[in-house]
């Protein structure tokens, strides 16, 4: 089982950062790697079990299922159903925690998955530095630092 953990600090209150990221269909509005997204079967994007079908800027298509969403604990958990990445049993969580010392937010993004052993380092790097840190860098820019 491979694990990825990336965390950062966003210069905005957690309710504002959460408003930006809670929409399971909203990746294109804040993540620079995502070109377009839709929720299958016309379901609302905060219905647990809904599936997002999105396209990356490089053309890859990924389908992910919403497993958990909490407006109280500020986290979102999802799994990959289909992707060209070559991962199995992929489950990821994006979690926000308020930093009471200043109006900032501690953000953590974790993933666990199985893959071919020779591809683990590459996948961990791509997901951690590319997808997760790339998303955090975009949020930091959007919230001014």
């Amino acid at each position: 089982m491979a694990r990825v953990y990336v965390s950062s600090v966003i210069n905005g209150r957690s309710d504002r950062v959460w408003a930006r990221v809670r929409d399971f269909n909203g990746l294109p509005s804040w993540h620079p790697g995502i070109a377009e997204s839709r929720i299958e079967n016309g379901e609302p994007s905060d219905k647990i079990g809904c599936i997002r079908d999105f396209r990356l800027r490089n053309g890859d298509r990924i389908r992910e299922k919403l497993l958990g969403l909490s407006d109280f604990d500020l986290f979102c958990t999802y799994s990959i159903l289909e992707s060209p990445m070559g991962v199995e049993n992929y489950v990821a969580t994006l979690r926000l925690t308020p930093i009471t010392d200043g109006e900032r937010t501690f953000v953590e993004w974790t993933a666990e998955f199985d893959c071919a052993p020779e591809r683990e380092a590459e996948l961990v790097g791509n997901i951690g530095s590319g997808v997760f840190q790339g998303g955090f860098d975009a949020l930091k820019r959007q919230f001014g630092g």
Binding site: Y5, S7, T97, I99, D101
Partner: protein, 156 residues
């Protein structure tokens, strides 16, 4: 039940901050309110269930019991047994997490407790500011070198 959550970012790796915090008998080395700390019954300070006895700078004493300690999660929790102030059913949790974007530390310190009617705001403020915020500031000064720098200056 009153709940308090305080959190901050310390500009040092979690291992450095954890080295300070994990010693349940070490708060007299960094917390400004604590003059002296001992562990009762000669137990080690990382034995879950051990009891620490604080002598505070204002002359009062209190006893606290270690409930959990995890080097893997960098967390510990403890409860108050005896206290000079009206804090009842006090249980506190400390959690560190790495900020991988910059090799810093996220530190979350939270508790729940009850007190006498009318004292809620005073107790909330005392715990938040004199214990938690003051603790954040003291550890920040130690691990980021401000205290060492000042004492070196003092010697020259």
């Amino acid at each position: 039940m009153i709940r308090i959550v305080r959190s901050t970012i310390i500009d040092a790796p979690t291992d450095r901050v954890w080295a300070f915090l994990r010693d349940f008998n070490g708060h007299d080395r960094w917390h400004p309110a604590v003059a002296k700390s001992t562990i009762e019954r000669n137990q080690t300070s990382d034995k879950v269930g051990c009891v620490r006895h604080f002598f505070l700078r204002d002359g009062s004493e209190l006893r606290e019991k270690l409930l959990t300690l995890s080097d893997l999660e960098q967390t510990f929790s403890y409860c108050l047994l005896d206290t000079p102030v009206p804090l009842f059913n006090y249980v506190a949790h400390v959690r560190l997490a790495p900020v991988t974007d910059g090799d810093r530390t996220f530190w979350d310190w939270r508790c729940s407790f009850t007190t006498r009617p009318g004292l809620e705001e005073g107790m909330r403020q005392m715990v938040s500011e004199q214990i938690y915020d003051a603790g954040f500031a003291a550890v920040r000064a130690h691990v980021t070198g401000a205290v060492t720098g000042a004492s070196q200056e003092g010697r020259t």
